[in-house]
Structure formats: C-alpha cells, structure tokens
Symmetry: C6
Subunit: 266 residues, 6 copies
Amino acid sequence: MIDSEQYRVTREPYYRPVGDEVRLFEAAYAARMPVMLKGPTGCGKTRFVEYMAFKLGRPLITVACNEDMSASDLVGRFLLDANGTRWQDGPLTTAARIGAICYLDEVVEARQDTTVVIHPLTDHRRTLPLDKKGELVSAHPDFQLVISYNPGYQNLLKDLKPSTKQRFGALDFSYPDGAVETEVVAHESGVDVETAAKLVEIAQRARNLKGHGLDEGISTRLLVYAGQLIAKGVEPRAACRMTLVRPLTDDPDMRDTLDAAVATFF
Amino acid sequence: MIDSEQYRVTREPYYRPVGDEVRLFEAAYAARMPVMLKGPTGCGKTRFVEYMAFKLGRPLITVACNEDMSASDLVGRFLLDANGTRWQDGPLTTAARIGAICYLDEVVEARQDTTVVIHPLTDHRRTLPLDKKGELVSAHPDFQLVISYNPGYQNLLKDLKPSTKQRFGALDFSYPDGAVETEVVAHESGVDVETAAKLVEIAQRARNLKGHGLDEGISTRLLVYAGQLIAKGVEPRAACRMTLVRPLTDDPDMRDTLDAAVATFF
Amino acid sequence: MIDSEQYRVTREPYYRPVGDEVRLFEAAYAARMPVMLKGPTGCGKTRFVEYMAFKLGRPLITVACNEDMSASDLVGRFLLDANGTRWQDGPLTTAARIGAICYLDEVVEARQDTTVVIHPLTDHRRTLPLDKKGELVSAHPDFQLVISYNPGYQNLLKDLKPSTKQRFGALDFSYPDGAVETEVVAHESGVDVETAAKLVEIAQRARNLKGHGLDEGISTRLLVYAGQLIAKGVEPRAACRMTLVRPLTDDPDMRDTLDAAVATFF
Amino acid sequence: MIDSEQYRVTREPYYRPVGDEVRLFEAAYAARMPVMLKGPTGCGKTRFVEYMAFKLGRPLITVACNEDMSASDLVGRFLLDANGTRWQDGPLTTAARIGAICYLDEVVEARQDTTVVIHPLTDHRRTLPLDKKGELVSAHPDFQLVISYNPGYQNLLKDLKPSTKQRFGALDFSYPDGAVETEVVAHESGVDVETAAKLVEIAQRARNLKGHGLDEGISTRLLVYAGQLIAKGVEPRAACRMTLVRPLTDDPDMRDTLDAAVATFF
Amino acid sequence: MIDSEQYRVTREPYYRPVGDEVRLFEAAYAARMPVMLKGPTGCGKTRFVEYMAFKLGRPLITVACNEDMSASDLVGRFLLDANGTRWQDGPLTTAARIGAICYLDEVVEARQDTTVVIHPLTDHRRTLPLDKKGELVSAHPDFQLVISYNPGYQNLLKDLKPSTKQRFGALDFSYPDGAVETEVVAHESGVDVETAAKLVEIAQRARNLKGHGLDEGISTRLLVYAGQLIAKGVEPRAACRMTLVRPLTDDPDMRDTLDAAVATFF
Amino acid sequence: MIDSEQYRVTREPYYRPVGDEVRLFEAAYAARMPVMLKGPTGCGKTRFVEYMAFKLGRPLITVACNEDMSASDLVGRFLLDANGTRWQDGPLTTAARIGAICYLDEVVEARQDTTVVIHPLTDHRRTLPLDKKGELVSAHPDFQLVISYNPGYQNLLKDLKPSTKQRFGALDFSYPDGAVETEVVAHESGVDVETAAKLVEIAQRARNLKGHGLDEGISTRLLVYAGQLIAKGVEPRAACRMTLVRPLTDDPDMRDTLDAAVATFF
C-alpha cells in the first residue's frame, strides 16, 4: 500500500568524500545507531545522506523540520474518509515500517513533542507508539534515524535536550577543502576549473568574515549558482554580485568588502 | 483539472527596465535558480515579476505572505467532500505541478514553517514533500520560485535564516531615476509630463526624509494616485495632500514639511 | 445568489459636510482609489461612508475589525454541507464580486493577515486570490475599498505597515465646528437649538482635556445621547452626568471638572 | 423556534432602589440607549437589570463575559447537523432578534472581538452583521444592550477602548446606605432587623479597609450568607467567620482585624 | 439517561472530624450556600467532601481543575453523532441537573472562563446558561457547589477574582493534631499506633521547615504510604526515605535534615 | 477489544540491580503505591521499569511526555467513525482498564492538565474521570502508575506541584558503579571486558565535568554505542569521538578535554 519505491534514490548522487565519514556512517548503520550530522548551511549534509541511502540501498524519507511542526506531522493522524476516520501514517512512521533511512533536517527547529517522539525509536526498544491509534509499531530491521543540526544556530531557548542528544552518534561536517570544492563547483555548474577555483577563493575570504558581520559564510551551493550564471554568459562580476553578495547581506560596508573580494579575482 | 490559464499573464504589463535586471532574471530562469527581489514598498517588484512571467510565457501564481500563514496555506490541505476527505493543492503545489513562476510576496512575514517548506524546492532536489498526503511532488521543469524581501523591515526577531537566504540569487530594486519615473507616472495616471515631473520632484524630496521621521519615502504608486486625482480635475494641492501627505504621516511637523514641498511645485 | 440589495443604503443618511471631503471622495471613487478615513472616535466617519455609498448608489458592506479577526473572516471559508464542503464568501469577497464599497472599520486592530490580504485588491491587479479555494477573483469594476484609522491609538506594536499605508489616499476627519455640530445634535436628538448649543460648548471644553486626563474628548454621539434624555424629560444635569461624564472617566477629579463644566451651562 | 419565554423574568425580583437609577434607566430604554452599569462586586447590578427587565416587560438574556469568550460565543456559529451545517444563533443574536435586553456582565473581561462586535448594535445602525453567515440582522425595536463594568479592576492592559465606552450612557452603583442594606439583609436571609443591622455595621467597617489590605469590601451578598447561617442556628461568630472573613483574605493580620470587628457586635 | 448512581458514594469514607466543620457544612448545605475549602496539599479536603456527600446522601462529582481546562470541559459541548451533532453535558451541568454536590478541586488553576461560568450558579439565580446550546439550566434544588483552594500557591498572576471569592462561604483546613493524625495513619496503613505516632512526629518536624527550604510539609497521605511499606516488611528507614524524603526535595542538605529526623525515631 | 498482549514484556530485559531498588519497588507495587523514578539521562530508569513489569508479570504502557501533550493524549478522545463519534481510550485509560503499569517518562515536561489528570488515580479513589465521555473509570486492581523525573532539569518555571509530588514514593537512580557498568557495556556492545572498562573510565572522568561545561555526563547508552562501533572494527579513538565527544558538546575546549581523556585510554 505504501509506495516505497518513490523514496528510493535511483541515481547515484554526486558526493565527494572529505574524510572517513562514509566508513563511520556504514559502521553506524550496521549497528542501526542513530546518527546526528553537524555542520553549517549548504556544506553538503543533505547530499551526504542521499549518497549513503544510495550506497546502502535503502529508501530515504526526508523531513524539513520547523517550529510549527507537531508530533502528528511526523507520526500520522486520522483523516476523515467516506467510511469515517482513516489513519494516515506520517513520514516517520512510514520510514519505520518500510525500513527506510529517515532524515530529520534541522530537527532543533521542531517543537519538543517532535523530538521526544523519536526517543523510543532511538534506544533498545526501536518502537514508535502511535498513542492516538493505540498501536505500537516495531521498527523494520533496516530502519535508521538520521538528524541534522547546525551548531551555529543554537541558543539558550532552542537546543536539543541532553536526553535527546545522548541517543545519537555524531559526525562533523564543514566546507570541503579548496581542491575538492573547486572540483565540486566545476562539476555542478559547468564552468572550467580555473573559474571554479576563483569562486572558491572568494568564498574562503568571505568565510573568514563569519561572526564579523556575516551570519554564515558563502556556501558551496551559492558558488554553484555563480558558476551557473557565468556558464550562461553572465558577466562574472554581475553573476557574483547576484549570487555571492546580495543574498548574504544588506549592510553597505559588508557589500563593499565582498564586492572588493570579487573584484580581486574577476 | 487545474485551470492554469487563469494564472497566465495575458496582456504585457507596463514595465520600464532600470538596469540589467531583465537579462539577469532571464539567465537565472534558464538555470531555474530561485530569485529574491529586494527593495522598498511600491518600487515595482510585483510589476517586474508579472512582466518577466509575460516575457517568459509562464503562468504566475502570487501569494501575499503574512505572519498568520501556515505551511498548509502554501502546500495544501485535506477538505471534506461528499465522499470523505479530498486533497486540495495549495498555490505553491499548484505552481510546482503546472510549471508556473511562484511569487511569494514579503516572505519574511510568514512563519518559519512556510519558509522551511520551500527548501527542498530550492536545491538540486526540486521536490515538494506533501507529508500529510504521503506524496513527493517533483517540480515541473519550468517551475521557478521568486520571493520578495524589504530589507528596511528586518529586525532581530524576524529575518530569513541563513539556510533560507543561501538558496536564492538576489536582485536589488529601488525607485527608478527621475526621467523614467516621470514617464511611468504620466503613462499610468494620464497627466501631462510636466505635471508628472513635478510629482516626481516632490517624491524625491520626501524620500530624503526616510529615516528622519518617515518610515518609507513616497512610492511611485502614490504619485500615480496623485496624478489620477489631478487628471480628474482635483486641485493639485488637494490631490497631493490626500495622496502624498496624509497617508504617510500623522506628525504635524512632518505634514507641514511635506505640504511645503508640495507648495513649492504647485 | 448573493442578496446584494440587503447591503443597499435605502434612505439618505443625515450627513452634514464639513469641507471638500465629498468632492474628493467622488474623485477617488471615480479612479477606484482605495481611501483611508482618519479621525477620532464618534466624529462621523461611518456616517460619511454610508452617505457616500448612498450618493454613489453603491451597496455598502461594513466590517468592524478586531484583533481576533482572521483573513478567513474577510475572505471566506469552507463550510460543511449535506454534500460535503461548500465555500462561503466572506464580506470582502462578496463586496469584490457585487461591486460594493467595502468599509473596514478600525483596520489597524486586525491581525497582519487581514491587512495583507487586501494588497492585491488595492493596486493595479484589483484581484483577490482565494488560495484555499484555488480561485482568483477579479474585483467588479464598481468595487472600492475604504478603511478607517484612528491616529490617536497607534503605538509601536500596532500600526499599519508602510506597504499597506501607501495603497490609500487619505482624508482627515475631526469633530465638526460648533455651528454644524449644534445643527447635528438638534436634528438627531430632538432638543431645541439653544440646548444643543450648550451641549456642544460642554463638549468643546472637555475636548481640550484630551491628553490631560481624558483618552478621548466627548463625541458627537454622546451629545446626541444627552439630548435624547433631555428630550424625554430627564433633568439636564442628570442627563449630562449619565451620558457625558460617567462613560468617559472614573477619576474623581476629572469627574468634578466635567460636572463643573456641565453646571456652567445648565 | 426560539423559546423567548424562557428568558422572561416571571417573578418581580426583590430590588430596593437607592437613587434615581430606575427613572434614568427607563428614559434610556425609551431611547434604546445602550447603558453601562458601573460598580463593585455584589452591590446589586445584576439584580437591578433583572428588576428593570421585569418592570419593562422585556425578556432578559445574561452573558457572563470572560477572557476566553470569542465573538462567536456571542454571535453564533455553524453546527454540524444530519443535513450538514446549521447556524446556531448566539445569545446576543437571539436577544437582537426577539427584542430582549441583553446584559453582558463584566464585558471588560472579554476579548477585543467581543467588544467590537457590539459596535454596530450600539449606534444609529442597530444592526448585527453575521459575517460568517452572510446575514445582516436588524435589531428588534425593543432590543437594548446593557453592560456592567467594575472600575476597581481596570488596569493598563485591560480596559474598554474609548470607541466602545462612548457608545453607552453610564449609571454608577455602590453599596446601599445602612438602613436600606439592613432591610435587604433581613428580607433575604430571614434574620431579624437587629441582627441584620449588626451585620451591616461589620460590613461598613470592612469596606473602609478596601485598598488597605482588602481588594474588595464585604458585599451585601456575603451579609445575606451570614444571616442565612445564623437563621439556621449557627453561632453568629462562627457564621461571620465562615462568610465574612475567611472568603475575603488569607492574611493573618487582616483576619484578626475582621474577627475583632465581628466580636464588637456579636 | 444519566447514570447518577455512579456518582453515589456507597461506602462511608473514613473521616475523622477535627472541629465544627461538619456542622458548618451541614448548615451551609441547608442554605445551598456555595462552600470553599481552604488548606494545604493532602490534609483531607477531598476526603471531607466525600464524607459530607455520603452523610448528606447526595451524589458527588469531582473535577480536578487545571490551567488547560476550558469552560466547555465543565459545561459540555456538541459531539458528532450518526445523526449530526449531539450535546454532551459536562460534569458541572450533570451535577446541576441531578442535584449532586459538584467539587471543583484546585479551581484557581483553571482559566478565567471556568471560574466565571460558575457565577450564575452561585447567586440567587442558581442557573447555568448553556450559551452554545441556547438552554438555560435551572439547578436541581439539591445541587451545591464546593471548591478547594490552597492559599499557599497564590501569586499575583493567579488568584480568584473578588467577584468569585465573594460567592462562597469558606472553611479552613489544616493537618489534624497529633493524636488524630496518629489514629488516621494507623487505620489507613495497618501499622501499630506506636509506629504511626513516630511517623507523625517526623512529619511535625518536617512541617516546621515549610518556607525554610520545603515548599510543603509532609502530608498525611505520605505518612500512610510510609506505614504501608513498613507494614509490608520494608525496613522503616528505607520506607521513610522512599516516601517522606525523596518525594519532597532534591536538595542534599534538606535531605540530610529529613534523614536525621527519621533516624531520631527509627 | 484491547490487545493487552502487545504491551506484555515477553523477554526478560537485561537489568543489573545496583541496590535495593527491586525489593522496594516490589513492596510499593504490593501496596499499589505510585512510584517516581529520579535520576539523570540514560542511567537505566526505562530499562528498570521494563524489568519490573517483566518480573511482576504486568503489561507495560510507556508514554514519552512532552510539553505539547494534552490531557486528551493521555486519557482519550472522540474519533469520527462511519457511525458518528467513537471514543478512543488514551494510553493511561487503557492501562487503568487492563491493569498495566503505566510509565509516564519525563512527566515534568507535560502541561499542567496532564499532571493533574493523574491525581484521582494516585490516591485512595484510584479512579480516572473521563469528563468528556461522562464515565468514571475505576482502575483495575493491578494497575500502577510510575513516573520518571530528572532533577537536573528543574527550574522555576517547570516543576511538579507539591500536590502532585506528594502522591508518589520516590526511588533515586544514578549511573551504576564501575564494575557493574563495565559488565553492562561489555554485555550490550560485544566488546571485551578490558575495552569496556576503558570506556567506563572515560565516562567517569567526563561525569566529573557535569556542571563545569557539560550539561550531562556521558550516559551508559553512549558507552554501549562506542563499544558497538569498536566491535564492528572502527578504530577506538574515532569510535569514541563519534559517540562520546561529538554528541555532547560543540565547545572546542571541552572537545579537546574529552578527546584527551579518550587518548589516555586508547
């Protein structure tokens, strides 16, 4: 009844390993250990999960968490049907039933009930109680839970509780080093390696400004955007202004600084 | 089943380009890059999107965001029908299915769940998970997401998260220069060019007061209002008072200043 | 199906013009320009809109806005019917369809989603998207939007956004001058002109106390109340105490001051 | 269909006038002027409205307002029926239709939408728009709105807006003078006049403590309670302790003061 | 249709009077006066109401109030049935209809609308308006309302309004004196009188610490728990640690103090 | 109708007693005394309840409490069925009916209405009123309520009320001593005792840092995770980094401290 094929990752995603993260994830998956991916925006966490799901041959169900998401959005709810109410599994329940990898993106954004609901799935019980339905779902042997977490956002009001954190093994992610990132940008945007290398150098300068006027550095994704515009014939400075400077800041001084960094290379 | 024709822009909107924004938007659209339009109230962002939708021959679905808008308002919800519940696509889902340009106006006003819901549509996945329905919508190849953003409003409590910002190329908008704005006002309101030029000059003086007692300068839209009243025979000073001064401020001194600016030209 | 006749103003409302507001409103209506009426409580804004609706021969739909009003209260919602859900237009949608003047009284009290929902109705688009129904309503050519706004209430937390304000021409209202107000009070309450004049003089004294212990001055409406009691044989001082003093303040000193003002004339 | 008889006051309520309030209310009702009753807890406002409803021969619908009451609780809502939704009038709508006096007790406790919803019923329009139903109810010619208001409670966060206050004539209420209150207590509780007089004297002493450790003085209602216990054979000091002291305060010193006042008379 | 027998107290509850509270309650019930029971946690208020309900031969309906309880939870609501909506009386309405004693436990925890809804039941009207159903319930002649109230909890944000307090006669409750409490503990737990007396002495020492590091003293209920464990063969010190110390505090010093008190007697 | 077998603990859970907790719990269960388990995250409270349920031969229903959980989530609610509404017992009601042990995990996270709803189940009444259904459930003679509570989390805003605390006997839990914990880690992860002992020593060092930069010490669960990775061939330092360091902290200094502790042993 559940079309688990729609969650299958059918083409190998382009992923360029930066350390031993693939091997560690495989060992964690072998123990069905829940895993937490830590790192800044746009550094490739989502892509990594897709790659691992492909490599391990498991369906992948991704949920973008947010502060208005309730436990029911994850677990499921009753819907009204011609014959009365009908239970509709939420994405977490579906993943537990079909043995998918369930990836909760930015789980810290969710309300407490969302994070507590995963507890019995992340210890020796590996169960998910559907209290409203009166059913206790035992997770499929292949099921694994993965969450992402951006340490740069945490504050006193919004953080994972220790009783949640201590249910996960954790992997750190960061921007790839220059050579790897250049390879990625060239591959994804279609520009030549020389242009890609310039874009990466601009990004590295901007990343040093994080915490000194910039909330986040330029992500690999934005570099790919810049490359795509250049590949379509847009003049590099205009392309960088549109993709590397304007999205990041409205502060005139910071814009000048970033524009100057662009001008150094193009 | 969806009447995509109702979203078609059938007449060329009047739009007067002010820079290379048309060319940059075309390149971004060619890459299906999500685009963010930045600029103050009433400077023509909405008109620009309509113009581009017309030029690119794509349907346009516009959503005025607000702080009470939920993710369901964008994505869709179940409605009760004679045969039970029936799924109703929201405007974002409709746009993703029919390959429209989806324009989220003042997206920063929306709640977090609204902004997070667009994430998978704005990276390489180009998908929209309808969690409540258990369906994963793949965006139509022609679909593009455009958002607007008024930097003047941002504060510490309400801003786009870096993980959202870094999914967009960005274009800056401002009021057009004097000659262009005069042309626009005359064209839209029916007054002669000389009168339109006077109205623009009043606006330029008022815009210098932004941040010195005025939250925003006089928009092009209000100049067109003034022109319309004058074209209908209203005495220019009364027309300006009603359209350029009274809507902007209740402060007596600021009103005197603006009335004096009007009196200089009429 | 909509009984637009119930919104027709069938008898000419008593309205005594105080300036060029009738002529300006007619010109604004000719351009279908949205209009904002500014002024204190009880000075005749509602009556003016009724008068203009009568004069222009348009139906009038009035909505008293409040902070618990949602966009759905204006736009409409799905109701459950014998055959499933049925769409019910809200007052704004009804007005847009039948070409009525829609008057949103004290719009600043409403939540943000209420004020944002009127945006596409107040620019060149003149449309109202019913997102939940998937319909884009084009306003009837005779439709006009009018809002009221009491500048005395505004504070930092609750004000119209510039992007809303700049969609309206604005007309200022205040209490009528003494002769006009005397005429109004006598006409509405049935007291003789001499008594009405005394009531107006009491009001004028009290209005000077606004901001010095009184939140608002005595409105024309309260003067009519006082006149009505006097016309029914109530002793004038008792009538004034009940209608001009007790409703305004519980402060003993302020009550003495107002009682003394009454005693000067009766 | 509405059983208006159930709202009829069939027996003359015991009410002992204390001033010209009956005559003033009759004149206000003759003009169908909305009336606000001001005064402390338990001084007889509710009883007065019942008495006037009886005297004027009108049905009375009383609503105890509270901060969780919504406009729908007053106006009505759609209910689900065998044949779909069915409109159910709220108490205010019922009162407007059948020509009852509608008494909103402690209206300041209600949310803003409740207070704004009464505006069109309290000016020359005398209408109640049922926006959700698309019906404009014209009030029955005999309908009158009465509200109560305890000035002792007001604070900066919760007060009637001037635009609401200025729709009402106002009558002040207070505790009756000693002789009248003695008569009331004896009549209601069944104790002799001498005992009743002692109870009233205790109350008068306690009322002087209002604002000096007591939030409110002893109400007439509590005196009647004390009398009832005494009439049932409870020892007077124990009766007073249970009804006049313990309900008012938990402060030991204040309890001693009140107990001493009791001991002076019994 | 209502099974009032399920609310009947069929066995005489064990209650040991401590003063004239039984006689005063009987007199109050004879006058159907609403009664407020004041006193700390676990001192026997609930048991007293059960005892009085048994003695007076009335059914008893108890509601544990809480801050999420709405007026509908007390009064009733519409439920959906095979034939549409069906009204379901809440516990307060049931009690008013069948002539039960309705006991609202810790009423100060409830929201304002819950406390206001009892007003018309607690004065001469003795009615309960079911606004949503359009019915005015007259209370059964045997109906009485009883509330409990723990003065130790009150703070500025959460207290009964004077207009609510002044509707009740009040009875103070406290822990019983040593001999009585020893009798209660022995009777309820099955330990001998000597052991019970030791437990009571421990409690009396701990109660002196209230306000000096303990929020509440040890209740009679906890003494019964300790006795039950001892009667089942648990070593007295371990039993006291589990029931008299660990539940009350996590502060190490306070735990030492309490453990020492236990060691003095066992 | 309820499948109580699904709540049966069919295999003896691995539990290593650390004191007299098993005997005390048995005595408490014999008296059907409600029990509160206190202690830090991951020290075995959940496992202990499972073990006791197995030992006592009772079904176990576990509910992970959270701040968005309402009383209805515990008690039950009406669902819509082909024949109208149907009552669905919540987990607490199910447990009370079938005589299960109901374990409310981290009950302090729940809203007040959740904690108050358990009151009548935790005193001599042993009843659960289903107010919405009008039913009073008497608990099965075998029913027992158990709650957990982490004293380290409490703050001024969120704590159990004394009237709740005083309904429970309490057992303290902590991390097991070194030998026991080594045994547990080796048994659960498959590593040899020597490796397990090293992991426990690392944990003991980290636990001393609690309150000095760490919110919680390393739990036994994380030690098992580390052991599992090592057993699957991951290099011990990498395994410890992923399971003992990265999940606990993002602070660079604290990470260095913990990494150094790991390096001491591996």
